[in-house]
Each structure stands twice: as C-alpha cells, then as structure tokens.
Symmetry: C2
Subunit: 120 residues, 2 copies
C-alpha cells in the first residue's frame, strides 16, 4: 500500500524562504542590524533548533509576541533562519550552512562579538 | 619661538566620529546594509585613503553628490569610516583597526563576499 503523501507528522517548511542562491548581503545585514534580532540569532546558535516561544525566552527578549513574530519574519525573509511548522509549533533554526557558503565568516563574526557591543 | 597651534596644513578631524569604545554592532551592520555603501567600503579598502570624489568613481557609483554625502555620513556616524577635511577636500579612510578590534572578522567577511551577492 502506498504511503500517504502528507502524514500528520510531516514537517511543513513555509514557502517564503529565499533559496540559498538568492541570499544577498545587504538584506542579511539589514536583518541582523537590530539588537533584538541579534539576541535571537545568538540564542538560536546557543540552544539550537527551537520552538519560537522557547527561543524568545532563551534570548531574554521581553517583547510582545507580535513584535517577536515580526523579527522572525525579517530574519526568515533575509535567509538567516528557517521556520518550520509542526502542529501548533513554529520551529526555528539558523541557516548556518547557507550563510557560511554565501558570506564566509559573517555569522561567526556576529556570534563572536562581545555582548556589550550589541545593546545600544 | 613656539609653533603655531593650528598651521594651515593641519588635518582637521571632524568632531562627529564615535570613539572606538562607542562602536555598536547593530549600527555598524545598518550602515553596511546598503549596496551603495558596501560598494564604497569595498572600493575604499581597494584604493586606500581617498578624496571622496575619487572614491565615488572607484566604487562605480553613479549617484548624486548629495546622496553620496548622505552615505558618507551614515558610515562615519557608525564608525566605519573616518572623514578628514584637508583644504577643500574630504579624505575618507576605513577604520579597520577599530572595526577589527570590536568585531573581529566582520570587515573581512564583508570585503570577502562575492560581488554578485551585493547588488540586489
């Protein structure tokens, strides 16, 4: 018997992620040029793939859910993170391989910057 | 006889440069998150300290003088470049030492990105 094409456990990747070939430096830099988004990216690197609620907590971001949702969208549309929907959860992960391939050293520089040089 | 404090050949550094200790990652990333400013920074790295008119030419930027002037100001206020006034010329240089000290690897990553990943 043929397997169901879309069993309930399927992880759905949202359609609006740019392909690796479409990543552009100005857009990635603009996505990273915000203290809250930088903290989220650094927390995501630290804790690994995470549901968005856990990530927001790990990043220490006391902002509204809608503001965090906006930041996620900016990071996703620039190609910095991947968002997958699993049931009612949104699972976020860093697109490290794509970023490292397109912009060697950029993510490491951003992750390696001293915390006191991020907050404005 | 005492030397004149400000002989005519003195290179004047404008007052509005942030100190190295005041550089912040979000502001530097925002300054770099623009194709024209990225091209200017990369040209400045290539040709070295330059009068702004020569730099604009080296960067291949066919934009108005006032637009280029705006880009210079954004880069200067973020701490990416230094602007010195010598006679009627504005001499631009990269603040490589300060950037490398604050954000190790960032400038190299930006300078090392393939040109086709800069234009949008």
């Amino acid at each position: 018997m043929a397997k169901a094409m879309h069993p309930r456990s399927t992880v759905v990747i949202e359609e609006t992620h740019p392909a690796a070939a479409d990543l552009r430096l100005p857009k990635v830099l603009a996505a990273l040029a915000d203290p809250a988004r930088l903290l989220a990216v650094r927390a995501l690197n630290r804790v690994g793939e995470s549901p968005c609620t856990r990530l927001q907590q790990a990043a220490g971001l006391t902002i509204s859910r809608s503001t965090f949702s906006h930041h996620q969208r900016v990071l996703r549309e620039a190609g910095v993170i991947q968002v997958r929907v699993r049931g009612s959860q949104r699972i976020l992960s860093l697109r490290r391989d794509d970023l490292d391939a397109c912009f060697p050293g950029l993510l490491d520089a951003v992750l390696g910057t001293a915390p006191e040089l991020i907050e404005t």
